[in-house]
Amino acid sequence: MAPMIDMVFLLLVFFMTVSSMSQAGHRVELELPESTSGETPKDLSNRVMLSVQKDGTFYLGGELVLAERLGSRLLSMHNQFPEMKLRIRADRGTAFSDVKKAMTAATEAGISDYLYGTLQGE
């Protein structure tokens, strides 16, 4: 009985930790679009996460950034890490004009590698 209880507690702690860790990087609440052709990322280095909410609010990492300051922030990041890739996580209902704003600011900052964050579709 005692080893079984030990094991159950161990599993419980594992799943509790894993479920909280998996949400740690996604503090910005978004309903991502589904994609049937997306690939599971193998290389997680040099990526900067830009979240775009439905109303056009930008978050760089988890930090709220005003649209007019996005370009200068991306430029300083790109100067620091020239190899960076911009991972755009936009809500499925975000207008393309808001995603365009982000891509325009990023291309002007010299960034050329992009990733769209999506959910694995069926």
Binding site: L11, V18, T107, G117
Partner: protein, 152 residues
């Protein structure tokens, strides 16, 4: 937790001196929590990436060989148009007609030994979800060179 140094009573009770702790309800609760976390951990959909490139601030001196290019327009309601011809209904989960056309376009470009390129030109009001669907169609058609067109 393993109960070392404690007396184990009958019917699943731990005894601490004169106090008896019933462990059966505790195990019930722990199992319930364990199932909850196991189930909630598996139903979360995995996040995946679609990668693409946009021309940055690159100086171009030498002439480049122009690939075969098709422009896919995406309207506000999600309708995809190529040469003003509408493919698939926007409420379709996947754009099969567009995929078939793009596949034929890629095969034609390959037979001409040029690269097939798709430029996606969504209108400002087009939803991000619809743009991703067009990118999916390009990917399923085997087109690797996808870029965006947007004016200011």
């Amino acid at each position: 937790m393993s109960g070392k140094g404690k007396n184990r009573g009958k019917r699943g009770k731990l005894r601490f001196g004169s106090i008896e702790l019933p462990i059966a309800p505790m195990i019930d609760v722990v199992f319930l929590l364990l199932f909850y976390f196991m189930v909630s951990a598996t139903i979360q959909k995995q996040e995946v990436d679609i990668s693409f490139s946009l021309p940055g601030r690159v100086e171009q001196d030498t002439p480049i060989e122009m690939p075969d290019e098709q422009i896919v327009r995406v309207l506000a309601d999600g309708q995809a148009l190529v040469n003003d011809y509408a493919y698939d209904s926007p409420d379709q989960p996947r754009y099969y007609q567009l995929e078939t056309m793009l596949n034929r376009f890629r095969e034609a470009s390959e037979s001409n030994k040029v690269e097939a390129r798709i430029t996606i030109a969504p209108v400002d009001d087009a939803r991000h979800e619809m743009v991703v669907k067009v990118m999916d169609a390009c990917s399923h058609a085997g087109i690797e060179s996808v870029t965006f067109a947007f004016g200011r």
